[in-house]
């Protein structure tokens, strides 16, 4: 066993040096022997394949060579757990994308995912802990990035604003009750729009005002915003219950009166106000020899 390990290590070294140094040498040195060229070309062709290929030998060797397999196993469990929960969250989130119900439907899954991620990131056992080996060991930091993306989504959605403890907050539940009331009213009257506008106005107004209060208190999450937007669209566009522009005549009358006032003002001041006159002063000047010549003559 020991011998094999040393041997593979040696082999690995050789391969690495071949891969890494040979092309470098070829580039840097102008005195490359001609017989080396085919080999170099072969190596260069092989190069991308070697790095990308996930040959089991290569990987298991690497992991075998790195540290304690027992610790690795513990981390592997965490990683598997993370994967399962990630999957269940995504499975929940994607169907909730339209109409957006992500906060309401998936907060449990997200909480579980967060727990396992916290486990990983708080694992700091010396010397080789799972935090370092799972989260920071490479440039990609895949686990970290996957979770970070989801957390960003969660933040942008403001989901935490309508959750409290391990469920929806009270205010969210109240909002939903009001929403359902309005929607059921819409449902009952959907054949007659003008009737709908009249009957459901109270419910809708109540909902709208409640929403405005929530907006002010910043207790909105994307679910609520989206449902409210949809309801408003229904109300304004589909049912056409917005306020009509009814008072055009009085508004125009009042405005034109207001705009007429300045015209009267300017006219009257033009006609009645005396024009301001300026008294000219004639300064004392020396009588010049070419006195009767005025300036224009001088310059024309």
């Amino acid at each position: 066993q020991e011998f094999r390990r040393v041997f593979f290590l040696f082999l690995l070294k050789i391969i690495c040096s071949l891969i890494l140094e040979a092309p470098l040498a070829a580039q840097s040195s102008a005195m490359v022997s001609l017989h080396l060229v085919p080999r170099l070309i072969a190596l260069l062709l092989l190069l991308p394949g070697r790095i990308r290929s996930s040959s089991p030998v290569f990987n298991s060797l690497l992991s075998d060579l790195q540290g304690d397999p027992e610790l690795e196993e513990r981390c592997r469990d965490l990683l598997r757990d993370f994967g399962r929960r990630y999957e269940s969250y995504v499975k929940c989130a994607v169907p909730s994308a339209r109409p957006v119900r992500i906060c309401e439907n998936c907060h449990i899954q997200f909480e579980m995912l967060r727990v396992v991620y916290n486990n990983i990131s708080s694992d700091q056992a010396d010397p080789e802990n799972c935090r370092d080996s799972l989260l920071r060991a490479d440039r990609l930091m895949l686990v970290y990035m996957l979770f970070q993306n989801l957390e960003d989504v969660w933040d942008v959605a403001h989901c935490s604003q309508c959750l409290s403890g391990d469920g929806l907050s009270n205010i969210t539940l109240r909002y939903m009750a009001k929403l359902n009331q309005s929607l059921s009213c819409f449902e009952s009257q959907k054949n007659n729009h003008s009737e709908l506008c009249r009957v459901c106005r109270a419910d809708y107004k109540d909902l709208n005002e409640f929403y405005s209060i929530m907006e002010k208190n910043q207790t909105l999450c994307i679910d609520i915003e989206d449902s409210m937007n949809a309801t408003r669209r229904l109300w304004s566009k589909d049912f056409n219950c917005s306020f009509p522009r009814e008072e055009t005549v009085p508004v125009i009358a009042v405005s034109s009166f207001m705009l007429f006032l300045p015209i009267i003002f300017y006219l009257s001041s033009f006609l009645h106000s005396e024009q301001k006159k300026r008294r000219l002063i004639h300064p004392k000047r020396a009588k010049s020899n070419n006195s009767l010549m005025n300036i224009q003559d001088k310059h024309s």
Binding site: K237, K276, R285, A286, Q296
Partner: protein
């Protein structure tokens, strides 16, 4: 040569002269009896004003007639007012001054230098504080107003009765504007407008009455708050510059004449020379506080007052500007609840442009926008010019002015309302741009009226919205309508009797049409024009440049307010184009207003075609002169002659009756008044306890009492005064043959007030003053001559 006024003893002068009677020119006052005047051969007179708009042919036929019937003409821009005098920028190096300077130790000079720095720091601090005060008050009161109006509009949309909300809005606006306008019209008319033309004149060397008084500052600040809150198309940036200047003039004197409080400090600075330097620092501090542009402020002072300038002054002014923007920043951070977070350097902040750089192929578009800005700016100025002439001629009573302002406020509200009412442009608020006072009106729920975000807001915020709201926030029709109406509103508003500036309305106007162009480019299907906000910025620069025609300082101000040096080149190109195009059609707005106020403003250089004039044709002649020792009665009579209110009197010696005397000095009216007040008579020398010091002159500065308030008894009239000690023994003189451009250069570079014209034997033949030079002006048909008028 007729002698019109009867010779009266001085004591009876006051009662005899009914208002308006003393208009005739006095050619032979008792004081001038010994004044030698050069009689030139010929006898016919030099014609003046032939080319001005008024045909003077009938008048010039005989001087006799001219004297008897001073002609009256309607106000126009080709006049020079007698109201304005020069600053005494040139030091009076008389014996007293030399003695005092001689007594000062090198340490003393260092202390003076240090106190200059201290004053500049104070100027910056106080200016920043005032800016902060205006800003916060406007913010609070405007928020209150908009909340009320919004509540009512929202309510009336539901319940009906929208015309009531128009009236409510109009009345609220009018009430604020009325308050502001009343204060301005009644207490201090000079505080009307932006104040930049006045400060420009002051820095040019013209003493505008009451322009740097404490009362003006108070009225200005109050007026600005009222007019901005009143929803007029105005900004608070221009008045900041005026406020800074007043602060500077006040602080540097160490006392307030209005409050009758003298702190007995900074007495060394009580003269026009020092005061003007500090005023330029104050103006810079004002610009700096207004735009968060300290360098722009320094350059503004440089551009407007560069004729008398030195390096140390630049450095000090920069210091004042920095302190001012820092103070504003600091106090605003306290107000915003996070002290020490210095994020708001100016009253207006253009904000960061996220899209960052511009592309090379956009530069030609920017230049075209500059041309558009120039044309629009020239149109704006031309319209405003006619409006201002109309205002000066017909709306000169203060109650009419207040009514006009009120009507303008009501009309502004109404027009905005109509546009909002008719607009179908509805927008959903984005994630990162909270609309401050969203008005829904007839939009679907959850959306707001797009045009309301520009009209239903303070202009500063509207500008920022136009710069930064994401593409598609405004549709093109909205922007067009806004530009169209706001152009006329802003043009109408500038020149009302309210204190308010034109910077922000210009920026807003330009930002609107700039964004319109940006919108059109974005919608053209070519995806390379991404960000309409950038075009809004260039449009704003172009429009502002087209209206005010500032060059260097405006570029730097815009760049600093944007906080992005990469925009320097396009902004410069835009401003250049707009200035060139604009100058082709009309003058800059400030220049127009300076002209309309008949201020004797001296340009950078003499008019191009004026080389053929010599000092002899330019000068006033004959000159009132005094002897070294002069009779008190003579002096009093000359000073109290209202028809020829001279300010400088050459002192001459060895004269004969008909020969001009040799010059040996120059004395100012203000000095004579102080001498008379202290009764420095030769005959009373024994009674006087102490010698008159320079301090006595400084204490009387800057409001020297009028001659009428000084009582001189019959006895005293017979006394004599020895002027040798007080006169400036080395006044600047030029020979008669000096050309006008040369005289002009001397005048402008040294900041002179009087320039004595002498003949070969150093005899006084004439006196050139600012008004003699400023009357030549290059008009459309060559050189024109402005007329002097009583205003």
């Amino acid at each position: 040569m007729a002698n019109i006024t009867k010779r009266v003893s001085w004591s009876s002068l006051c009662e005899d002269r009914a208002p308006g009677e003393g208009t005739a020119l006095l050619d032979d006052t008792p004081g001038a009896r010994r004044c030698r005047r050069q009689e030139f051969s010929g006898g016919s007179l030099f014609r003046i004003g032939r080319l001005s708009t008024i045909d003077l042919d009938e008048e010039v036929t005989s001087k006799e007639e001219t004297l008897k019937q001073p002609n009256e003409i309607p106000h126009n821009e080709k006049l020079l007012s007698l109201k304005y005098e020069s600053l005494d920028y040139d030091n009076i190096e008389n014996q007293l001054f030399l003695e005092e300077e001689g007594q000062m130790s090198p340490m003393g000079f260092k202390c003076v230098e240090i106190s200059r720095w201290v004053i500049c720091g104070l100027i910056g601090f106080l200016t920043g504080l005032i800016a902060c005060f205006i800003d916060i008050v406007v913010e609070i009161v405007a928020a209150y107003k908009y909340k009320i109006v919004k509540r009512y509009i929202d309510q009336f949309v539901v319940e009906g009765g929208l015309c009531a909300s128009v009236i409510l809005w109009a009345i609220l606006n009018s009430a604020f504007v009325m308050a502001g306008s009343l204060v301005v019209a009644i207490f201090e008319p000079i505080a009307a407008g932006s104040g930049i033309p006045q400060i420009k004149c002051y820095l040019n060397g013209v003493k505008i009455p009451r322009v740097v008084r404490l009362k003006t500052l108070v009225v200005k600040v109050f007026g600005v708050i009222c007019s901005v809150v009143g929803g007029l198309a105005v900004g608070k940036e221009g008045p900041m510059i005026h406020s800074g200047a007043v602060v500077a003039a006040g602080v540097s004197q160490g006392r307030s004449t209005s409050l009758k409080k003298d702190l007995k400090i900074f007495e060394y600075f009580r003269r026009d020379t020092e005061k003007r330097d500090f005023v330029s620092a104050g103006a810079a501090a004002g610009v700096s506080a207004a735009f968060g542009a300290p360098v722009g402020g320094v350059l503004f002072s440089l551009e407007e007052g560069a004729s008398f300038w030195n390096q140390m002054l630049t450095w000090r002014i920069f210091f004042a500007s920095m302190i001012s923007t820092f103070t504003l920043n600091f106090f605003r951070s306290i107000y915003n609840g996070n002290p020490g977070e210095l994020a708001n350097p100016g009253l207006i902040n253009f904000g960061q442009f996220e899209s960052g750089a511009y592309k090379l192929y956009e530069i030609p578009i920017f230049i075209c926008m500059g041309a558009v800005g120039g044309v629009l700016g020239a149109g704006f100025n031309a319209l405003n010019y006619w409006l201002t002439i109309f205002r000066i001629r017909y709306i000169h009573r203060s109650y009419l002015q207040v009514i006009e302002a009120i009507l303008a406020a009501a009309a502004t509200a109404t027009v905005s309302y109509i546009l909002m009412y008719c607009s179908d442009d509805c927008q959903t608020p984005g994630e990162h741009q909270a609309v401050e006072y969203p008005l829904q009106l007839f939009c679907p729920d959850g959306q707001h009226n797009s045009i309301a975000t520009v009209f239903f807001n303070t202009p500063e915020r509207s500008v920022r919205n136009l710069f930064h709201n994401f593409p598609g926030s405004y549709n093109s029709l909205t922007l067009f309508l806004f530009t169209f109406t706001y152009f006329f509103l802003a043009c109408w508003t500038y020149g009302l009797t309210v204190s308010a500036g034109v910077f922000i309305p210009s920026l807003l106007l330009g930002a609107a049409w700039g964004r319109l162009i940006g919108n059109l480019l974005t919608n053209s299907g070519v995806s390379i024009f991404a960000d309409p906000g950038k075009y809004a910025l260039m449009g704003a620069a172009a429009q502002l440049g087209g209206i005010v025609r500032m060059t260097l300082s405006l570029t730097v101000i815009m760049v600093e307010a944007t906080g992005n040096v990469t925009y320097g080149l396009p902004i410069m190109l835009v401003l250049m184009t707009s200035k060139i195009v604009g100058d082709y059609f009309a003058e800059g707005l400030y220049d127009i207003h300076i002209k309309l106020q008949s201020v004797p403003f001296l340009g950078w250089e003499a008019p191009a075609t004026s080389h053929s004039f010599t000092a002899r044709e330019v000068m006033s002649s004959p000159v009132m002169c005094f002897n070294r020792t002069e009779k008190v009665g003579t002096i009093v009579d000359v000073l109290s002659n209202t028809s020829a209110k001279h300010n400088g009197f050459p002192i001459v010696s060895d004269f004969t009756t008909n020969e001009p005397g040799r010059i040996c000095g120059l004395i100012l009216r203000s000095q004579l008044i102080v001498l008379l007040k202290h009764k420095v008579f030769v005959e009373r020398a024994q009674l006087k306890q102490r010698k008159l010091l320079l301090k006595d002159f400084r204490d009387a500065y800057p409001r020297f009492p009028p001659i009428q308030s000084i009582h001189v008894s019959q006895d005293e009239r017979e006394c004599t005064m020895d002027l040798t000690e007080f006169m400036n023994p080395t006044p600047y003189t030029v020979p008669q043959e000096t050309s006008l451009p040369r005289v002009f250069k001397l005048f402008r570079a040294l900041g002179l007030r009087h320039l004595v014209v002498v003949d070969n034997e150093n005899r006084v033949v004439g006196l050139v003053t600012r008004k003699d030079l400023a009357r030549y002006h290059l008009g459309k048909h060559g050189l024109e001559e402005l007329q002097l008028a009583q205003t």
